[in-house]
Symmetry: C2
Subunit: 320 residues, 2 copies
DNA sequence: TCAAAAGTGTTATCCTTACACCCATGT
DNA sequence: ACATGGGTGTAAGGATAACACTTTTGA
């Protein structure tokens, strides 16, 4: 006996302003923060992506540029308490990139649409000023404890390895792309609010850690983690940063944008050489209105690279 | 007015035997080749992946190891003639890896389940013996013509650039990961049977090219192209090859497997150094039963790497 | 002894990383 | 003149790509 299903679309819409990566959220007093969500109506829209663009534009008066499908979730129990009665709702997650926000007018209701620093949801992901202290203070010890509870429990890997790989303890390197792995660990260990809310407190140790990021509705923080992972990875082999930049920009602005997304600090010259060797930009003429120092030259994206090289991106190397 | 939807799951199940990459297909006289397909029943299965594993095991008596979600298609018109009446069917594509097939018994009916060389569907993708002649003979000229029809039509890129990037004409390098891009070009240009069948003959030039691979049902060949692209890419940063290998193997067997998947010929020593430096394998003791020459040492996968390095894979370089 | 496949050694080259230093502008 | 950010030169170390050659087996 087949059962019919309803499909929802979730969008992680990203923009970078000055030094902060921002994500479009819908907040209401009752339910907290959520990603924009809309139903998919197969009668009105030919493809999922068309459906997504359509309601996003209607709700936020924002035109999306780059859009990419992330993942489809069919997990029962996504919607907190399961009753197994109503229609089954599945959801497809999307990543979308937008130009810096002017101001986004929310929809009516008592909900509020706005841009928020994504590191508010993942404070441990921002390494631009060095390794965040909370990793060694709040997260590390608690994950060690959880890890010791049943170290042989092996799904993909055994717990100690997972923790070490994800958070780079014991001089293992930090891999900024593993945003999702890290969030999943914290969830499984019961260290984020979502875990308790979903009734997993018994699984881990519900040892209330101070401020492991703001929680989101349903599994939206998981979708956001997927989006960040994907974006951080894609940066390196496809020129997606430019979807987030204005028409012309300085090299430092470009670097700051990449740093905001990847959460790492980058070496100035090496970054510039990368951009230059990759022939990703061309001089746009003119100089920026200086912000305190010497005025910077303006550049624009060289769209031609997309037709020249196989994988034009910013091959940021290991550290620094 | 929301309309309910039915969800189907498609699996591209891959195994490599000797020198050929194989894909599990379901063939019937009426409908031709198809990927294994099953409905998703949200009542019986908690997640999509569980649902997939369940019917694959039931139908093919094959236990899947590695499974990865590829993409969700909601395109109307996927199922050839649209009537807009029946339930709307969407499908989620999966990539799965299996050990070399012993023999897979088909389901009853008049359909036949079997393993087929994936290059039967994409003959232009096998570069192990050099650039396939059909690219310059059959494909090149026809795509040039199509490209010239409306060179300014720009979706992602303009046609000439797309063709050059995808097929590497004019000394542009061949990127073995762009399997999907290439198939989409051929489809848009009306050079594969699926295009004509879907009623797109007018769009391109229906200039019957000889044997551009065997067609598949619905958009299954597109899903397969996505699977190959993903697998070829993943090979390079995650140790997925070993999901396709027996417990112990020789380095040459490993190389042949990688070559079968990536469709390229690899340099022997460089490949070995890569494997060694990556610390991906360890000696298993013993030697292979020799097949005509000097017996080779046996190795096994070192699972520990997954816990040691961030992206353990076979970073196959540019060419050779 | 010859074919067939296994298994090294070595070099030129490029890319990555990290040094440290100079330049142009506003206050 | 000095603070602030913009903008280079260059050298050490490592990874890559390509060279050709030796070794061990079975027939």
């Amino acid at each position: 006996m087949k059962k019919d299903i309803q499909l929802g679309l979730n969008a992680a819409i990203v923009a970078v302003e000055a030094l902060t990566p921002k994500i479009l959220t819908v907040t209401s007093a009752e339910t907290g923060d959520a990603l924009p969500f809309g139903p998919f109506d197969p009668v009105r829209h030919r493809t999922l992506e068309i459906g997504l663009r359509s309601w996003v534009e209607a709700q936020t008066s924002l035109t999306l540029g780059y859009v990419e499908q992330l993942y489809t979730f069919g997990d029962r129990g996504r919607h907190a308490r399961v009753d197994d009665k109503g229609p089954h709702i599945m959801s497809v997650g999307y990543l979308a990139l937008a130009r810096p926000p002017e101001r986004t007018d929310g929809t009516a209701d008592r909900t509020e649409v706005g841009w928020r620093d994504w590191y508010a949801y993942f404070p441990w992901e921002d390494w631009r000023k060095g390794r965040p202290a909370m990793i060694d203070e709040a997260i590390g010890p608690r994950l060690e404890k959880w890890s010791a509870l049943s170290p042989e429990d092996a799904r993909p890997l055994r717990r100690p390895e997972r923790v070490q790989l994800a958070f780079g303890h014991d001089n293992a390197p930090w891999d900024e792309e593993r945003v999702l792995d890290r969030f999943e660990l914290l969830y499984e260990a019961g260290l984020v609010e979502e875990a308790r809310r979903d009734g997993r407190e018994s699984a881990g140790l519900w040892d209330p850690a101070p401020n492991l990021g703001i929680a989101m509705r349903f599994d939206h923080r998981r979708i956001l983690a997927t989006a960040i992972s994907r974006l951080r990875a894609k940066l390196k082999y496809r020129p997606v940063v430019f979807e987030l930049m204005p028409e012309t920009f300085t090299l430092t602005e470009l670097q700051h944008t990449v740093e905001a997304i990847s959460g790492r600090h980058l070496h100035k010259q090496n970054f510039r050489r990368l951009v230059e060797q990759g022939r990703l930009v061309e001089p746009a003429g003119g100089e920026s209105v200086s912000t305190g120092g010497r005025p910077a030259a303006l550049y624009r994206f060289r769209r031609e690279v997309m037709g020249e090289r196989p994988a034009p991106g910013l091959r940021l190397g290991g550290r620094s």
